[in-house]
């Protein structure tokens, strides 16, 4: 019984939150990786694209809520996601036409593109705050929990509860679905293959008749989809505040780099590595030892490796360690 309690504790506080946060990071890191491998620059504006996607979902959710059109028990935001995705794609394409296209035609170095993307990041952030304001925006509706702690306790008779929030379940399912579709697209379709060819060797791809503008277009469409879904899921599960998406760029970049920049599988692995290490290192293990060890061995302290204040630092420490030991990242990057 004690072991079961201990396992429930780990599931409730580490596994499920880690899986959710990891999925959100993985989707974000995928977006960065795809832009990096096809367009050859680090897109710092990706966090704000996610924020833009989340904002579109929020505005649309409010619109549909006011007409009382919903898909109870799921949040309305999931229903309006396709329209929000379209808006985000449109925004990405407009930015590309107005900004990135110019530098692409100039054949600018990737560092110039990177700085341009920082400019786009600030502009987008400002635009978003102009539209929805800087404050907290709550757009969650529907049933809050798939599984409530109290229900779980009643069913199993355990001391520890297990909760599964609706948003956590939706995040995990939607991420898995999106990743499967993405990999199918990249590996099985002709357009996907031409994208991979373009990212592998641009000159050769151009010689074999691949239309570069089409590849760029598809890249932004994929980026828009990933950004909007990741942003909306993050906002639904945690809370939406434009400012927090600026901070989100950092763990997402570490995820992409840890996994191996430019490698989609690496981005997913990187997302989970970052998410789980943030949770595992800042968790206090007192209770788990209490369940797994005999009473006389249980220590007095909290058994917390690092205070939660240092959560954000962990992704950087991992980044530094990975870059020192394996500079290419866990998976060798730069090829789709």
């Amino acid at each position: 019984m004690d072991y079961l309690n201990g396992i429930t504790l780990i599931l409730n506080y580490i596994f499920i939150p880690g899986l959710t946060y990891g999925s959100q990071l993985a989707l974000g890191a995928l977006g960065i990786t795809i832009v990096y491998s096809v367009l050859r620059f680090s897109n710092f504006a990706h966090g704000e694209f996610m924020s833009f996607g989340a904002m579109s979902s929020i505005l649309l959710s409010w619109l549909f809520m006011s007409f009382e059109i919903n898909i109870h028990p799921l949040p309305t935001a999931i229903m309006v996601l396709p329209i929000a995705v379209l808006l985000t794609i449109t925004y990405c394409l407009i930015v590309d036409r107005l900004v990135f296209k110019f530098y692409r035609q100039q054949n600018s170095k990737s560092v110039i593109n990177l700085i341009v993307s920082i400019g786009v990041m600030f502009f987008t952030g400002g635009l978003i705050r102009f539209i929805v304001g800087p404050g907290d925006r709550n757009f969650f509706d529907g049933e809050r929990f798939f599984l409530k702690a109290r229900t779980f306790k009643n069913i199993t008779g355990l001391n520890e509860g297990l909760t599964l929030k609706t948003t956590q379940g939706v995040t995990i399912l939607l991420s898995v679905f999106l990743v499967i579709v993405l990999f199918w697209f990249l590996n099985k379709t002709k357009t996907g293959k031409s994208m991979r060819a373009y990212s592998d060797n641009k000159e050769l791809a151009l010689l074999s008749g691949i239309n570069p503008e089409k590849v760029v277009l598809i890249t932004w469409i994929i980026t828009g989809i990933l950004a909007c879904v990741a942003g909306t899921l993050y906002g639904l599960d945690k809370s939406y505040k434009p400012f927090t998406y600026l901070h989100l760029v950092l763990p997402i970049f570490s995820a992409a780099i840890v996994g191996g920049v430019g490698n989609p599988i690496g981005a997913i692995i990187g997302g989970f590595v970052i998410a789980f290490s943030e949770l595992i290192i800042t968790f206090a293990y007192k209770k788990i030892f209490f369940y797994f060890l005999p009473a006389y061995l249980v220590p007095e302290g909290l058994l917390q490796i690092l205070s939660t204040d240092y959560k954000i630092a962990i992704s950087f420490v991992i980044l530094v360690i990975v870059l020192l030991i394996k500079p290419t990242g866990i998976y060798k990057g730069k090829i789709l």
Partner: protein
């Protein structure tokens, strides 16, 4: 061209004679930032006291004007710039503010002291401010958190909570209050299982809550802000079923919180400066007449503004360095007791040479270097509303 400009400027001085007699009071509060939902009521309360004096016509130094400025509650640089503007550009005679402890300390140290301007804060509660050197310029109508810590420890003990986890916002206010709660609760035989800080303005507090949950405890004390991390901590605790009872100190009290969290918060308790003296009710009545609902730190703001004006009258001067000496005098006994709505009468009494004892909306009694001795209201969240259920 130069000549025209000079003559133009000169003529401006002729057209607009300087109102040397007019008095200006600066109101510097966090209209944006973590307590933005509280600041408007606080400012309106202070302005209500000033309007009352203006209407009475008994103020020797003429009409009193007010200027508002934004302290942001958290950004010391912005608050200092705002205070600097009040003093140098607006030429205020005194400042009602600032609000949060960190910015108040910064404004006091770097702006009010060098310029010799009196500051009366309605809500800065950090114990550190009691010993901050102030040249006799700083006062507060809110009690120090050292006192609130005592009250919180008593309340928890009485309600039968023997162990508690403590999460505080990572600033002067949070740290000061947490230290005071911990000291008092431990000395009364309780046990704080963990003291962990949280940063404001983050999207996700589940890692913080995971650590708190492992330490356990009968109740979670959240010494934070209701519009910020405090709300996030409570939401995440409820989501993970880590705690279901919360203690809410003054920064967490406001109707916005139970509204945002929902029925799960019912049954949680809290404390906020307040009193059952008739002054509080009279203040609420005045506020209703002025067209707003009284809120946390509204009474303190009313009293802070009132003290400034009464001291000016008493010392027959609008100069900070002169009237600062009269503030303790008008606030404390002996003298005729003055309640909200009686400011006109108080001014008349002072003019006729009589002593007054300003009781105001908070049963004000200044102790030590000029801070409220502090009475607290006990809060119960019931039916998604904050209710005052007792006083101590």
């Amino acid at each position: 061209m130069k000549k025209t400009l000079v003559s133009l400027m000169l003529s401006m001085f002729l057209v607009f004679p300087t109102y040397a007699d007019n008095v200006k009071i600066g109101i510097i509060l966090g209209f944006t930032g973590p307590i933005e939902s509280l600041a408007p009521v606080m400012a309106k309360s202070a302005e209500m006291a000033i309007n009352e004096v203006n209407k009475s016509g008994n103020f020797t130094h003429g009409k009193i004007n007010t200027v508002r400025a934004d302290s942001t509650c958290v950004d010391a640089a912005a608050a200092q710039a705002a205070a600097e503007r009040l003093i140098t550009a607006e030429k205020v005679n005194a400042i009602m503010g600032a609000d949060c402890s960190g910015v108040t300390t910064a404004v006091l140290k770097n702006v009010a002291m060098p310029n010799g301007i009196v500051m009366i804060s309605p809500s800065a509660t950090s114990p550190a401010l009691s010993t901050e050197p102030d040249n006799g310029l700083f006062f507060r109508t809110a009690p120090s958190d050292a006192r609130q810590g005592e009250v919180i420890a008593d309340l928890l003990m009485e309600k039968g909570f023997k162990t508690a986890a403590l999460s505080h916002t990572n600033n002067d206010y949070g740290k000061g209050l947490a230290a005071s709660i911990q000291k008092n609760f431990t000395s009364k035989g309780g046990k704080i299982t963990i003291t962990a800080s949280h940063e404001d303005g983050k999207a996700d507090y589940s890692a913080e809550v995971a650590a708190l949950a492992q330490a356990g405890g009968d109740i979670l004390i959240v010494a934070g802000y209701l519009d910020q991390g405090g709300k996030g901590i409570i939401q995440a605790s409820l989501d993970a079923d880590a705690f279901n009872k919360f203690f809410l100190p003054d920064g967490m009290i406001g109707d916005a919180l139970p509204k945002a969290i929902g029925p799960d918060l019912n049954g949680s308790i809290g404390s906020v400066p307040g009193t059952d003296s008739p002054g509080a009710a009279q203040y609420s009545e005045l506020a209703k007449k002025a067209g707003f609902k009284s809120g946390p730190y509204g009474p303190e703001s009313y009293d802070a503004a009132a003290l400034i004006m009464l001291a000016m009258e008493k010392s027959k001067s609008t100069k900070s360095n002169v009237f600062k000496k009269s503030i303790m005098d008008v606030a404390n006994a002996p003298g005729e007791k003055i309640f909200p709505g009686e400011l006109g009468k108080a001014l008349k009494l002072i003019k006729s040479g009589k002593d007054i004892d300003y009781v105001g909306a908070t049963a004000l009694e200044l102790v030590g270097s000029g801070e409220s001795s502090g009475s607290f209201a006990e809060i119960l969240i019931d039916n998604q509303k904050t209710k005052r259920v007792g006083y101590r």
